[in-house]
Symmetry: C2
Subunit: 226 residues, 2 copies
């Protein structure tokens, strides 16, 4: 009878994962500002790939700004339910240390279909109209739709509230690379702090992982199980 | 003033994405059984990577079995809320064509912590004890935890109900590759149909994408926006 011997202790699994990541990507990780390193490690952990630093872009104060926003308490605006589902409730649930923050997904709001038809855009971009009252000082985490990131840049340029931090992780073949390049190219002019993954790679696990990494930093923990 | 010209029509974005995927991966996709091809395309679409066929493993009837289960109506057992969040409600919501199916996540059930402590395993694996009444004929989609896939193989071997199809997409550095290798190695003996991605890669977007691809096939659609 086949029986499997596998690690079942969550703390040991995390420790072993981070050890493998630091072993494989240590040289690249050492080139990052210290506050970005744990974010990069969590990104790698979320997708099982250690070659991400070459495509990682960020503003100098990105991690510190995100950490400060979470400590103060803000709205975390996310483009899909999947990103919200990946943000650890241990940090943000009622009664938890960071419970002054809240995660907001507007994609399934009943108004969204009508807005999308009227604006002739995707539901994801349309859903962002409902972000307007919450944008100023927020953390925006985009893990799926390039149109959402493009639209965010337009909205900020047109005077909508300015997020404290933009986590740019759209994924895929049409517009993903371009939208993240636009974020990196325009961030200085728009005075936006950001963390983003260039190219086609990205996705909801990366967007959630970035939020979780900042939450752990805000709690003064590091590399603990979530 | 910078203005972005980007594709905003969801149908055009999908069409263009699938065209790029088939252009880059066409030769590899042509080696797959016809029923698996749309699943592979959706997997690539979910992560922005076209080099997945080399690591894709499946039993010969996997896609057809999954399609039949969805058509009949079954329980889709998933290991995390993120996988559930990525399964398109358009197919499964009340009143939708496949509404006889339901997606079940047991991870946040209040009993899970106690079961995990008692069994000395991860919360994910512990949550699967609550799958037992639903396993027979189900579709199991694992997008995160290697321990869940290992535990599923143990449960099936010990006589728990047998899923109609196992979608094996644990991701990461500790146990992910090993758990998927175990699935592939034992599936024939356990008489399990499966689709899995070997190696470290995997993740919740792949697990959701596989379910969505089968749903689209069950609806007799192909490559339509979701």
């Amino acid at each position: 009878m086949t029986s499997h011997h596998y690690e079942k202790d969550p703390a040991a699994i995390y420790a072993s994962s981070f050890s493998i990541i630091r072993q494989e990507a240590g040289d690249a990780l050492a080139t990052l500002p210290p506050s970005l390193e744990p974010v990069a490690v969590r990104l790698m952990h979320s997708v099982g790939m250690t070659d991400l630093v070459a495509d990682l872009r960020f503003s100098p104060n990105a991690a510190d700004t995100g950490l400060a926003a979470l400590t103060r308490g803000t709205t975390i605006l996310v483009d899909t339910q999947m990103v919200a589902g990946g943000i650890s409730p241990r940090f943000f649930a009622q009664g938890a240390a960071l419970s002054k923050n809240r995660v907001l997904v507007t994609l399934n709001d009943p108004q969204v279909s009508d807005i999308a038809n009227e604006m002739k855009t995707t539901r994801t971009a349309a859903a962002m109209e409902l972000w307007r009252p919450h944008l100023e000082g927020s953390i925006v985490a985009i893990g799926n739709a390039p149109t959402a990131l493009f639209r965010l840049l337009e909205m900020v340029r047109q005077g909508a509230g300015k997020p404290a931090l933009v986590l740019g992780f759209p994924v895929g073949f049409v517009g993903a690379a371009e939208s993240k390049q636009a974020l990196v190219g325009e961030a200085a002019e728009l005075e936006l702090d950001y963390i983003a993954m260039l190219g086609r790679r990205g996705g909801t696990p990366m967007a959630s992982a970035a939020v979780n990494a900042l939450a752990i930093a805000a709690l003064g923990q590091s590399d603990k199980p979530m």
